[in-house]
Each structure stands twice: as C-alpha cells, then as structure tokens.
C-alpha cells in the first residue's frame, strides 16, 4: 500500500463532493414523519414584567397543536445552565429560564413556544398571542449598569455585577514607580454578532417506548449538549442521542446551550411528536449569543527604550441579560492569560467585572477573549511606540519573549507558552512587505496629503484548549481532553471516531491524512466520523482551535496502539518476534527483508478471524485513546496591514495584507491557508464593518442582515500568506492549531494601520469600528481645528 497523501500535502477535501452537489445534511434538512414546527414568540421589550399571556385565540388557529409559556415549562426543564464559573471570582449565576416566567430581560427573551403543522402556521399563531407587559427601566451599557441607582436585572445580583475576577503576577506598583513612561488608555472592543451562515436550530424527537430523545442540532460540541441536556431534563444520558453532522459555521456561537434546543426537546417529550425549530436570521440576531463587548481601561508602564515593564487592566465585560454556558470564562481566563501577548512583561494585574445588562447574552466568538487581549496589547505596543517616537516593529522586538526562553511562564504563572520564535515571523513579514520601501511610499503619500498607514500585529494565541486539569483549575465545568477510536475493519478499511465536531475546518480530510501518516492506509479507505454521541466516546468538541492539536493527537495515539498490535500480529504471522519487524507504509515486514511481508489487509483479516493470534493478544483491531495534553499550544505570527483612506468618504481600503503565521507543523497547507483567509476577513470586519448597536431602550438597531454589515466578496483584497514552523513540543505531531489565528491578528493590524494613517492629523487612538463615518468625523474635526 502506498501513502496517497503524505502529511503536509494540500490534498483536496474529502467533505466537498457532498457539499458542492447539494447533498450536505444540515439540521434544517432533517425531515421526520409527523414532524411539527416550532416558533418562539419573543419579547419586544428589553425589560418588562409579564402581566398576562392570552393564548386562547392563537390556540384556536388552524394547524396549531400546542402553545407553551414559561410557566408551562417550569416543571419540564431546568434553567439554561452556566457551565464555566471561574475560579478567582465571586460569581453569582442568575436563573435563566428557557422561556421567561414573569420577567423578560432582553429584546428576544422567549415568552411562548408555538407548535404547529408548519412554520407558517406557527408564526400566524405566535402573532395572535396577546401578551400584556409592564415595562421596566432598561440598562444596556455595562458602565451604566454598575452605577448606583441603575435598573437591576436580578435581586440576587447587586449592581448587576455577576462577578469580579482578579489575576496578577510580579509587582505592578513597583513597575509603575520605576517606569520612564506611564499612561492610561481606554479601549473599547465592541459587541459583534457571530453570523454563522447557518442559524441555530434543532430537531428533537422523543420516542415513546424506548424513552429516547434523539436531538439533531447545530452544535460545536454534541457531548456537552447531551451532558447538560440530561442534567436539565432528567432524561438519562443513556437515553439521549445528539447528532450534529454538517454544521454551517459556528465561530463560537454554537458552543452554548440554546434555550430553543432545550424547549424543542421537552416539548417533543411532552407531545411525543418530532419538533423542528430553526431560527430566522433576525431571530438569530437576538437569540444566539453575541461576542466581545468590553470596555478595557489599560495602564501601561514603559522604559525609554520601549520596554513595557508593567500592565494594569480593568475590564468591564457586558455579559448580556444572563450568563451563557461558557461566557464567564471568556473575559476572565481566556482574556487575561493572553494579555501580555508575545511580550515578556514581568508585572501584570487584571481585574475583570462581568456585568449584566438588558441585552442578548455574550459568549465565545471566534477567538473568545484572546482577540480582546490581543487588540489591547497590540494597540499598547503602538501607543508606546508613538509616545516614545520609536518604530512599532522596534518596540515589539524589544519586548518579544526571546526564542530561548521557552517554555515561558507568564507573569501570573497561570500558563506557560510552549515554543516560539517571534522575531522570525516578523522578519519574514517585513521582507514580504518590503518595509523600508513601504515607509518611503508612505512618506511620499503623506507629502501628497494622502492618508496612508501601516499597521502590525505580532500576536500569539492560546490554542488547543486543554488540559483538563487547567480547565478544572479555571472553573470550567468539564474536561478538555479529546477522544479517538481507530477501528480497522476486516477488509482493511478504517473508521475513525472523533470527539471533535468540526463546522467546516476540514478534519474529515486532515484527520485522514494524519491516520495515513501513522498507518499508511490510503485516505480513500478512511472514514472520519463525528457528531453522533451514540457512536463516539466522550469528547469536548470543536472550539478554541483545539481539534487538531488535541483531537488529532488522540487519533495519532490511538493509531499507534493499532500499529503496535498489527506489528505483533504481523510478526507472529511471519513467524518472527515483534522486535524483528518494521511497520512500513501500512505493511509489516521483516527488518532488512521487505519481501517477507504481511499487508495491512492480511493483518486486519487475521486480527478478526483470530485463527492464529500471538499469545496474549486479543482479537480485533479497535483502539481508543483519550489524550489530555500537558499544555496548551501557542501559535503566533506577524501580520502587516497597509491601508489608504479616502479623505472624502472616510473609507479605509486595505491595500495589502501580509500574514506570516506559525501554527507548528502543517498537515494540509491549503486548509490552513483557508482558515487564515477566513479568520483575517472576520477580524478586519470587526475593525471596519461590524458592530451590534442597541438604543437606550434595548432595541437592537443592527437587528437584521440589512443593517449589520458582514464582509462581502468586495470588502477586502487577497491576502499574502507565508509561514514559519516552530513545532509544539507537547503533542506527537508538533501541531499548534489555526482556527482563530487570523481573526485574532487582523483586528489590531488594521486598526494600527488606520491610526497610523490618521496620525498626521494628531490621532493617537479611537475606538472601533473605524467606519467611513467615524473616520470622516475624525478628518472633519481635524479640518475644523
């Protein structure tokens, strides 16, 4: 057998033939006999007491099967759980009912669920429900919500502060005393709507007799859904099967438990009919979690030469109206442990306030905490450069953790970086962009009165979310290992079961490449299976760029168990000792005698017929492995963005974008590049296009796709990519992970470029989004002065 796809080659994706011919199978494609449609009536008010709900007219409408209010569900389902309650904080978790019981707390809070023969009828009936509200005062901004006298969302959460988190290392006060330069800056990381192209939804089917709930849903982590669903509904885990196969993008917004999937499940159990619920897009905008929404007050202590010696951060995170499943972990641990970025900053103190407001809940969104941290530290590097009149690349180099300092423990000691060579990626990026020439071009442009800017981001990322002990120490309610089963069949075909749950990241291909590398089985003979809790051992899912580094490693270890067993069986069949054979591209032969060989298929068959097994070796070739790495991985890179601003319209156009990333070893360069492209676009979009805006009454003004601007094909140019390779020492393949890198890096890169472009006008900082209007205002104010 010949290896058909060596590790490191850009083979085409095996998932694509289905998807390009319309044969994908997403949740909305599930059709079951007797299936009903569910529509959720949502609150139009951001904060109100429910006085009365009259469903009588609606119930009488054609096609309506049942209508449930919050009160009807109280006995059927527990509140939506919050599963990350950070250590180092005094967290208070308010009760969040899947349908509001007497108070609605954000526009979009569920009030009633209508089940009907089809969705059109369900919507008709939802419109006919008469709800009487008594409106209450509303607060949408986290800083307002903390003030004395602000409207209170919950009696149990005074001043709306759900938690205060603190982490520090070194001696921050001393650092500020000895510093040559100290300054403060407020940085706002605005609220975003994730916008996976497939909205969230579920099909729940509870079977009478077997008492089994089958739940198809758009989740990044089916096992977490099963686990929490079981806790919330009292249906034993043994009786719940969660299926999530083709997922139309997640970006963090499909990690959390969704009220809708809980409601559909318990109603299916109640009515013994399959229930489908799919969000409309506008519904998705209020009912699925948002991302970011921080106000970060930063204090910086630096020396004259540009070295940053101290960093104090006070962050106010808007959590929305309740604490979503993983939400508290995002602005606390995930945010604070990357705050010093690629830089050796010995003294760091962080305080984070998680604040409840009358808005949609926030939770993970591509990068989750790390983009906020990276934006912060990368803007700080530029501010230091500006204030000390140094080149931004020099300030970065001054502060880089040297390549011989790994593993490197951050100031608080909370986490240690695996490996890195930060100068190398920056060198390569500067070479690609031709930095000297670029600065000349900028001088020229400025002489002509044009606004032309260059921005950098030399980011790091915590990836491969793991290990479980760290998760526990941080208060995450689960583990972060990953599982894999490698099941060789008698014909030599192989099924891989993996606990990860991709949404387009290509593991159906890269995992086959990994297995091919280990066992030599042609990728055509390998099937990668995910998204079925009945088939797959416990796994934690796909987020935090962890799938390949953690799940891929589990696969490699399981494959190695298979390989060892095959060598034993092969040696036995060849009548030599296991020490005398080698495993070579899928077959086992005697050392130095390649013609004395047993093929992969022969050994597989022998393992299953078990006519002639070596002593002590059990039949079958079916191995599982739970991999819990000793550490996270830390990809890094240097991104450079060049912008030119049209003074008249204020529009910032990206002229060039160079990205040099180090994601460790690369299984499939084409797929890695694709992840980087998509990530860059998403990060750039935060800086210049996207923002979720509420008015003072808590109405979401950016409430439809006609108002909320996600990037289009014409928004940004082609990106120029390259890579360096610094393997991660903590997993067998030296993988770091790539899913979030682009997003994390690109937001500060373009903001630094835009601020650089505007710096001749005296602009040192302004907050995102750098929309044309905002830039025009800055240019205009300057003209006015």
């Amino acid at each position: 057998m010949v290896a058909s796809s060596p590790f490191g080659s850009s083979i085409k994706r095996r998932e694509d033939p289905r998807l390009i011919t319309g044969a994908g199978h997403y949740t909305d494609d599930v059709r079951l006999p007797g299936m009903l449609s569910m529509a959720i009536l949502r609150s139009p008010h951001a904060h109100a007491r429910i006085v009365n709900i009259d469903t009588s007219a609606a119930k009488a409408m054609p096609g309506v099967v049942a209508i449930y209010t919050g009160a009807d569900l109280v006995d059927l389902v527990a509140p939506v759980p919050c599963a990350w309650q950070p250590k180092n904080s005094d967290i208070k978790v308010p009760e969040y009912r899947p349908l509001a019981v007497d108070t609605v707390r954000y526009v979009g809070d569920g009030v009633a669920a209508v089940v009907a023969e089809n969705r059109y009828m369900a919507e008709d009936a939802a419109a006919a429900i008469n709800v009487q509200y008594d409106t209450l005062p509303v607060v949408v901004h986290q800083l307002d919500a903390m003030k004395d006298g602000a409207p209170q969302l919950y009696d149990s959460v005074p001043n709306n502060v759900a938690f205060h988190f603190h982490l520090e290392g070194g001696d921050v006060d001393a650092a500020f005393q000895k510093a040559d330069l100290t300054f403060k800056q407020r940085l706002v990381n605005q609220r975003l709507i994730p916008n996976a192209m497939e909205t969230r939804g579920a099909v729940a089917s509870y079977q009478r007799g077997s008492n089994e709930l089958t739940l198809w849903c758009t989740t990044q982590n089916p096992h977490i859904v099963r686990f929490l669903m079981s806790l919330c509904t009292n249906i034993p885990e043994t009786q719940i099967r969660v299926l999530s196969q083709d997922i139309g993008g997640g970006f963090g917004s499909k990690i959390a438990m969704q009220a809708g999937e809980m409601i559909a499940s318990v109603i299916s159990k109640d009515l013994l009919r399959p229930i489908k619920w799919m969000e409309d897009r506008s519904e998705n905008y209020v009912s699925t979690t948002h991302g970011r929404d921080h106000v970060d007050d930063v204090e910086v202590a630096a020396m004259k030469d540009g070295r940053v010696v101290g960093l104090k951060v006070t962050a106010y995170a808007n959590m929305g109206a309740y604490l979503s499943t993983a939400a508290p972990g995002v602005p606390t641990w995930l945010f604070t442990v990357t705050q010093s970025g690629a830089y050796d900053i010995p003294n760091v103190a962080s305080d984070v306030y998680g604040v409840l407001t009358n808005t949609t809940a926030t939770d993970a969104y591509r990068g989750a905490g790390r983009p906020e941290a990276t934006y912060l530290i990368e803007r700080v590097m530029d501010l230091v450069a500006k204030k000390l009149n140094l080149d931004p690349t020099e300030v970065r180099r001054k502060n880089f953790i040297p390549s011989d300092a790994f593993p490197y423990s951050i100031a608080s000691g909370a986490i240690a970086y695996d490996s890195g060579d930060y100068d190398k990626t920056l060198d390569r990026a500067l070479e690609m962009i031709d930095y000297a020439a670029l600065r000349k071009e900028q001088e020229q442009a400025r002489a002509e009165g044009r606004l032309f800017g260059v921005g950098f981001s030399t980011y790091i990322e915590v990836c491969g979310l793991a290990p479980s002990a760290a998760a526990g120490a941080m208060g995450f309610g689960g583990g972060l290992y990953e599982s894999a089963v490698v099941r060789v069949h008698p014909t030599g075909k192989v099924t891989v079961l993996t606990g990860i749950n991709p949404q387009g990241q290509g593991e159906g291909t890269t995992f086959a490449q990994l297995l091919n590398g280990e066992l030599g089985v042609p990728v055509e003979d390998i099937e990668i299976v995910w998204g079925d809790t009945d088939r797959i051992p416990m796994g934690w899912g796909t987020y935090g760029s962890r799938s390949t580094a953690v799940g891929g490693s589990a696969l490699v270890f399981a494959a190695r168990k298979v390989r060892d067993k095959m060598m034993k069986i092969g040696a036995h069949l060849l009548e030599v000792s296991p020490e005398e054979v080698v495993f070579d591209q899928g077959s086992v032969h005697v050392k130095g005698a390649p013609d004395q060989v047993k093929s992969f298929g022969e050994i597989a068959l022998a393992a299953y017929t078990a006519w002639n097994m070596p002593e002590g070796v059990t039949p079958g070739l079916d191995e599982s492995y739970f991999f819990d790495p000793v550490s996270n991985t830390f990809p890094f890179g240097a991104h450079v963005c060049v912008v030119e601003i049209d003074k008249d319209s204020g529009k910032a156009d990206v002229r060039r974008y160079v990205a040099v990333d180090d994601v460790g070893n690369v299984i499939n360069p084409m797929i890695v590049d694709g992840q980087i492209h998509g990530g860059i676009a998403q990060g750039l979009a935060q800086a210049v296009l996207e923002t979720a805006v509420y008015d003072d009454n808590g109405q979401l003004l950016s409430g439809t796709m006609m108002d909320y601007a996600i990037p289009k094909a014409s928004s940004f140019p082609n990106y120029e990519l390259d890579r360096t390779v610094t393997p991660c020492p903590f997993n067998p393949m030296g993988l770091k992970g790539v899913g979030e890198a682009g997003t994390i890096a690109s937001t500060p890169a373009i903001m630094n470029a835009i601020v650089d472009a505007l710096s001749p006008l005296g602009v040192e900082h302004f907050d995102m989004p750098a929309s044309p209007q905002r830039i025009w205002q800055l240019v205009h104010e300057q003209k006015g002065n």
Binding site: E15, I20, A196, M197, G742
Partner: protein, 164 residues
Amino acid sequence: MKQQVTITVNGTTHTNEVEPRLLLVHYLRDVLDLTGTHVGCDTSQCGACTIEMNGSAVKSCTVLAVQADGAEITTIEGLAKGGELHPIQEGFWEMHGLQCGFCTPGMIMTSVNLLKNNPHPTEAEIRHGLEGNLCRCTGYQNIVKAIQYAADKMSAEPAAAGDD
C-alpha cells in the same frame, strides 16, 4: 386558497397545490425535498438560496412558488450532468472554495450566472458579481480562485460553458 403550480425542476416536472404565500425556497426544500438550496437570512441578503430560474440566478427566498409557475428551475442538485461536476463545482473543490459549505450551493448557482454574463471576469468583477452572496468562513479569496479556475476551464472547453 391553494393554487396549482407546475414547475420543472432539474428536468422533472412537478404539479402541486400550494398556498400562495409559500416561498419558492420552501417549495423546493419542503415540498420537493431538495434540501441543497439553503436559507441563510430573512432579508434577501445572503444568497444561500440562489437557484437558476429560466436561465437566471434568483434568490428563491424572494420569489413565491406561484410566481414560478411554469418555470424551468435548476438547483444545486441538478447542476452536475451525467455524474460529471460542473466546472464551477470542480473549481470550488480544487481551490478550497468552501469550508462549512452552507453558502456554497448559492455561491455556485450565482457563479453560473456570473460567468454566463461575463465569461472572462477580472478578480474585481468576480468580487462585484458575488455581492449578493455572503460567506462567513472563507474570506472569499478561494471562492474567487474557484471561479477563475472555472472560467479558464470553461473557455478551454466551450462545450461545458453553455450548459444550464
């Protein structure tokens, strides 16, 4: 009051009684069970629902099934002919023009029209031509390459180009 419609989809003619308010996308997905055409928005922005109707790309979420009475429709399921991928499908595969694949059927169906209007588009023309299709995963770079691949291939073998 239900209305009778007769619609030819991917070469097969269907006659059904439908409510006038039924959107064409729901007719395709729920009546004909052709689930390759997706729904990504409710404001006609995303293009995930794009199909070909009487030779032109349209957003099937913004057409009533009754308006399509008598129409010839091609959906993503009907694009590959005789088991052979359309060059645009091939381009998406070759160039890694998709990740989650949710936008892909619509992207491909729009691209068919784009290349029909303009068989040799520049990069900028491709990007402009995709204005009505949103992709959250790819950042569009490889989608542009996929269409360039198809344009090259279709001009090399003109037989494939005229296919609708």
